[in-house]
Amino acid sequence: MTGLKLTNIKKSYGKTDVIHGVDLEVQKGEFIVFVGPSGCGKSTLLRMIAGLESITDGDLEISGERVNDLPAAMRGIAMVFQTYALYPHMTVYDNMAFGMRIAKADKAEIEKRVTDAADMLQLTPYLDRLPKALSGGQRQRVAIGRAIVRNPTVFLFDEPLSNLDAALRVATRIEIANLKEGLPDTTMVYVTHDQVEAMTLADRIVVLSAGLIEQVGTPLELYNKPANTFVAKFIGSPAMNISKAKLSKAGDSSVLALPNGNSFEVPISSAAGLEGQDLEWGVRPEDMLICQDNDTELLSGSVMFIESLGEVTLLHIDCGGEDSVVAKLPGIADVKKGDQISLTAPADKLHVFDNKGVSFLYL
C-alpha cells in the first residue's frame, strides 16, 4: 500500500527552480532516507511534504489523498527538527501535549499518550523539567516523543542527529532504528547528509543532487550498482576512483582500452553502438589490489601520501589524472612515500559509465 506519493513535484522561488520534478512512491511503513550534498534540495523536499513550503507544481499524496493544499497540521504528519525546536518555556510534558491540546483532545487521552511516549523513550523522570535542564540527547528524545504523541501516518526527520556529538549520534541512531521497529505501520522520511546514517537506517535511499533524484534503491544497491558517477562518488568512503578509457569491444562483456595501453575485460554488457567511444570506469578504494605477476595493471603511479589507520592503510597515488587515486589496503602496508606502485582490481568490481556518467548497467 502506498504511504506517500510524489508526482512530478516542483519548487521554485520566483524564477529560481530548486526542485525540478521529483517522482517517488513510498510504501506504507517504509523508512526512506533522502541524502545528498548540501543545497541539493533534500530539506526543501521534506518541508514540502510537511506542508511548511508550498508546492509549486505536481501532486503530493499521503495515504492516497492529494494533500497539496492542506496545512501541515491536517496532513497526519509529525516532524523532528534538526535543532529539536522544543518550546523553551514549556515543560517536557507540556511540549509533548501541546499538539493534542491545540486539537482540544480529551485530557485523559492526552495524559495516556504522553506517558506512553515518555515510557517508550525513558523520559518519564524528566516530564516536569524545562528543555534547558536536559542534555542534547534527552532533548532530541523529547522532540521524537512529541512527534510520537501525534500518532502520525508519516514521520519526518530533518537531520535529527547533526547537533549531537559523535557518541550520542550512534546511540540515538540505534534508538531511531528501534523506533522504526516499534512503529511498523508508520512511513518515515529521514533527511541527512551523512551516508552512514543513510546506509544504516534506510529501507531505501533517495540520492538527490541539484533538485533531481539521481537514484533510488536499497543501501546495497546503491553501493554495488550506482546508477551514475555522482552516486558512485557520493556513496562509499573514501569515494570511488573514476578514470577515463575507451570501449574497444562491446558485447556481453566489454573490453576497455586503458590509457596505459592495456586492455581489460569486464563482465558488463554493452551495446555495439558504443564501440570506440570514450567512457569512464570506476573502482572503489577497498577493491584495489597491488599488482601481482600475472595481473593486468589498471593504474600506476608514485605514492604521494600514506594514511595508516591500523586496520587499513590508505594510499594516495598520483596516476597522472586530475585527482589522486586512493587505494585502501588491509592491515599495515609496507609502502613508503615516493614508491612506484601498480594497481589492479577484480574484473567484477569495476563500474563502467558512458561519457555522460550513466552506468552501463542502467543504459
Binding site: E65, R66, V67, D69, L70, P71, M74
Partner: protein, 336 residues
C-alpha cells in the same frame, strides 16, 4: 485617587478591547472560513483565504495608529506650511519666504548647526572613551550605571539640575552655583553663563551631552565587547601598545556602530526643545528650530502655517538619515 481608578479602569478596558479585537476577529475568521469538517477542496480554499486575511487583522490597529498619528500628519504638515495662520487660506510659499528672512530663524538655523556639530560628536567621543575605560576597571559596571543614569531624567529636570550649576550671584555674595564658585575660586569674575550670547549655546549643549553620553557609552561598550578577542591578542603579539590597539584595532571595527550612535543622537538633537525652553526660552541668541516651532504654535493664539513650515524644515534635515536607516535595514534583512 478617583483619577487613578478611572485611569486603571480605562486601561483595563483598553487592554480588554485590544484582546477582544484580536481574539474576536480571529474567531470570526474561523467562523466565516471554517476548515475543520469541510471537504478537502473547500477546507484548502478557506484556509488560503483566511491566511491571506489574517496578517491584515493582526496589523490593522498598528497601521491605523501609524497612519493617523504619523503618516497623515506629515502630509498635512506639508500642506499646512503653504497655508495662513489659521490653516485655512492658501498663501503659497510666503511662509517659507518669511522664514528665510526672519532673523530669529536664521539664528535658530545657525544654532542648530552648532548643536548638530557639537552634541553628537561630544557625546559619541565621551561615550567611546568611557566605554573603553570602564571595560578596564573592576567596578566598571557601577561606573557605567552612574554615567548612564541621566538617560532616565527628563530634559526639563536636567535643565533644573544644570540651571542650578550655572546659577549666578553678583560678585561679593557667596556663589551657590557650582560653576561660578569654581570660577571664583580660580580667581575670575563670575558670569551669568546662560545669558552670554553664543557661549550660552555651549552651556545648553553640555546638558544634552551629559544626558546622551550614557546612551553612546552603552551601545559602544557592547560593540567593543563584541569584537573578537583574537584580533586584540594578535595585535598584542604584533607588539602594539594600548593606545595603538584602541585606535588601530578596536575603533575601526566598530565604525558602523559609531555611525549608528551618531545618527541617533543627531535625531535627538533636532527634536530637542525642552532644554532651550527651560533654560532661556530662546533669549540671548540661543533659539533653536524645535523651540521656535513650539513657540509659533502657541504665539498669539498660534500660527499654524508658520509652525508647520518650521516643522517641515526639521523634517527635511531628518530625511537623509531616514533614507540611510531604511537602506541599512534592508541590506541587513537581505543578509539573513
Amino acid at each position: 485617587m478617583d483619577q487613578i481608578y478611572s485611569a486603571l479602569l480605562t486601561m483595563s478596558l483598553g487592554v480588554a478591547g485590544c484582546i477582544l479585537y484580536f481574539w474576536g476577529s480571529n474567531w470570526l475568521l474561523g467562523i466565516i472560513f471554517p476548515f475543520r469538517g469541510q471537504s478537502h477542496e473547500q477546507a484548502a480554499r478557506n484556509l488560503r483565504i483566511a491566511s491571506s486575511v489574517r496578517p491584515w487583522l493582526f496589523l490593522g490597529p498598528a497601521l491605523f495608529f501609524l497612519f493617523l498619528y504619523l503618516v497623515y500628519p506629515v502630509i498635512d504638515s506639508l500642506r499646512l506650511s503653504f497655508m495662513g495662520r489659521s490653516g485655512e487660506e492658501f498663501v503659497g510659499i510666503s511662509n517659507y519666504v518669511w522664514l528665510f528672512n526672519d532673523p530669529e530663524f536664521q539664528e535658530s538655523l545657525k544654532n542648530n548647526v552648532l548643536w548638530l556639530l557639537i552634541v553628537p560628536a561630544a557625546s559619541t567621543f565621551f561615550g567611546l572613551i568611557i566605554a573603553a575605560l570602564t571595560d578596564r576597571v573592576s567596578w566598571g559596571n557601577i561606573a557605567k550605571s552612574l554615567i548612564f543614569m541621566p538617560m532616565a531624567i527628563s530634559f526639563i529636570g536636567a535643565s533644573i539640575i544644570w540651571k542650578f550649576i550655572y546659577d549666578y550671584r553678583p560678585t561679593g555674595s557667596d556663589q551657590i552655583g557650582l560653576l561660578n564658585a569654581f570660577v571664583e575660586y580660580l580667581g575670575f569674575e563670575p558670569q551669568a553663563w546662560i545669558a552670554v550670547p553664543f557661549w550660552n549655546n555651549l552651556f545648553l549643549m553640555i546638558i544634552l551631552v551629559w544626558i546622551q553620553t550614557g546612551f553612546a557609552m552603552v551601545i559602544l561598550s557592547a560593540a567593543l565587547r563584541g569584537i573578537p578577542e583574537e584580533t586584540v591578542e594578535a595585535a598584542v603579539l604584533d607588539g602594539a601598545n594600548g593606545l595603538q590597539i584602541f585606535f588601530k584595532i578596536l575603533v575601526p571595527q566598530i565604525w558602523g556602530t559609531i555611525a549608528v550612535v551618531w545618527t541617533t543622537i543627531t535625531i535627538t538633537v533636532l527634536k530637542v526643545f525642552d532644554i532651550v525652553l527651560a533654560m532661556t526660552n530662546g533669549q540671548w541668541n540661543s533659539q533653536v528650530l524645535a523651540n521656535m516651532m513650539f513657540d509659533w504654535m502657541f504665539r498669539g493664539g498660534g500660527d499654524f502655517g508658520r509652525g508647520a513650515a518650521i516643522a517641515v524644515i526639521i523634517m527635511v534635515a531628518v530625511v537623509p538619515i531616514m533614507v540611510w536607516n531604511i537602506r541599512n535595514a534592508q541590506a541587513q534583512m537581505e543578509d539573513r
